[in-house]
């Protein structure tokens, strides 16, 4: 076998091996998207009930809660960026980080200093490499977040929010969250939203007029215990959506990798065939040329 042909064959083998891996990753991600979407759907009854309850309390009592009152003179803001732990997901993590950068620039324009809270190894590495300060970070569960994780994160954020935003402490006056919204299998959008101070948004499910609730023990107490839950639920929802988006982005990246491998294999096969043909043609012309030379040599001796 000629050297050229051998090289083509070797490259084809390696591309085929890579294709097998990307194909497998594509299938795995595809099955995980469905699971992640189901988890988003499963968390919505809780979120809807909670929103209803919070709306009820907020509209029936004019209690002011520290979590809902905007700071008159905000100095510091926290930004929570949710990214992936692993790569191979195309631009998924990068677009979330970029969205976060834009938000940070916007906040800085308003004269706020920014504390970064990061979820996912990709964001942490990005910040570390650029020597940016990280207030707190969590890694290891980006593709399968549980409520316990969301609680841990929101506890730390709420504590920061409730702390005095003095010069020394890590207190913040605003909290923003950057996550990737799962719109559909093919569209995922990085989103930046303000979480705190809270604006209670209406549920998607309209239930008509809210009944006159009795509160036990008191509206203030109910609100006190509801609002942190509400923040947790929203962080949890953002994490679930991000996880679904991550899987979708990975599936898409792996699908195009598989397609590219197919293309590469096709063109390599063509090249290998041409090389083989060239080899055969050369051999034939060598044989013919050799036979000719022999024939003319023996003709000359007679």
């Amino acid at each position: 076998m000629g050297a050229q042909l051998r090289i083509y064959r070797r490259r084809m083998r390696s591309v085929k091996a890579t294709k097998k891996i990307t194909k497998a990753m594509e299938l795995i991600s595809a099955s995980r998207i469905v699971k992640a979407q189901q988890r988003v759907a499963a968390s919505s009854p809780y979120a809807n009930e909670l929103t209803r309850a919070v709306t009820a309390v907020a509209s029936f009592s004019n209690t002011n809660h520290p979590l809902t009152t905007p700071h008159p003179n905000p100095r510091r803001a926290a930004v929570l960026i949710i990214t992936a732990d692993r790569g191979m997901a195309g631009a998924y993590s990068n677009s979330a980080i970029k969205e976060g950068d834009q938000l940070v620039a916007l906040l800085k324009e308003r004269g706020l200093s920014v504390e970064s809270y990061l979820v996912g190894r990709k964001a942490v590495n990005f910040y570390r490499f650029r020597n940016r300060a990280i207030a707190n970070s969590w890694t290891g569960f980006s593709d399968n977040p549980t409520y316990a994780h969301a609680k841990e994160i929101s506890d730390s954020l709420i504590n920061a929010f409730l702390a005095e935003s003095g010069t020394e402490s890590h207190g913040v006056d605003e909290l923003h969250i950057v996550y990737t919204e799962f719109k559909s299998m093919i569209t995922q959008l990085p989103q930046a939203k303000r979480m705190l101070p809270l604006e209670v948004v209406e549920t998607t499910v309209k239930t008509g007029l809210l009944p006159m609730y009795e509160f036990e023990p008191s509206p203030e107490n109910v609100l006190n215990s509801l609002l942190p839950r509400y923040v947790e639920a929203r962080v949890f929802n953002a994490m679930l959506q991000s996880a679904a988006s991550e899987h979708a982005a990975r599936r898409r990246a792996m699908k195009s990798a598989t397609d590219n491998a197919d293309e590469l294999i096709k063109s390599l096969t063509r090249l290998a065939n041409a090389a083989r043909q060239a080899e055969i043609t050369q051999e034939i012309s060598e044989i013919v040329g050799g036979a000719d030379a022999l024939a003319s040599a023996s003709a000359g001796s007679e």
Binding site: E49, Y147, Y213, F215, E216, P217, V222, L226
Partner: protein, 85 residues
């Protein structure tokens, strides 16, 4: 009793239980609370502990609820817990 209560027990990760019930009892910060059909609308904070539901077919179901609250309106009872089992 003409109507039953429609009860839902939900945790952040999934709907744990849902069905018809004749009575729900739970403990709020102010004390034990029994809810029968046509109860006035109520929002209450639950202490960690058991919530028991007497379902329409006479069975008694119990859930351990942590960090939860209860909302009652128009014969719909929702029990929300950070963890429910």
């Amino acid at each position: 009793m003409a109507t039953n209560l429609t009860v839902e027990v939900v945790s952040p990760e999934k709907r744990v239980w849902s069905g018809e019930a004749t009575m729900v009892s739970a403990r709020t910060l102010e004390g034990d609370l029994g809810i029968l059909p046509d109860h006035a609308p109520l929002l209450g904070v639950l202490v960690d502990g058991l919530v028991s539901i007497k379902s329409a077919d006479g069975e008694k179901v119990e859930f351990q609820i942590n960090g939860g609250f209860i909302s009652v309106a128009q014969n719909r009872v929702s029990i929300l817990g950070e963890s429910a089992s």
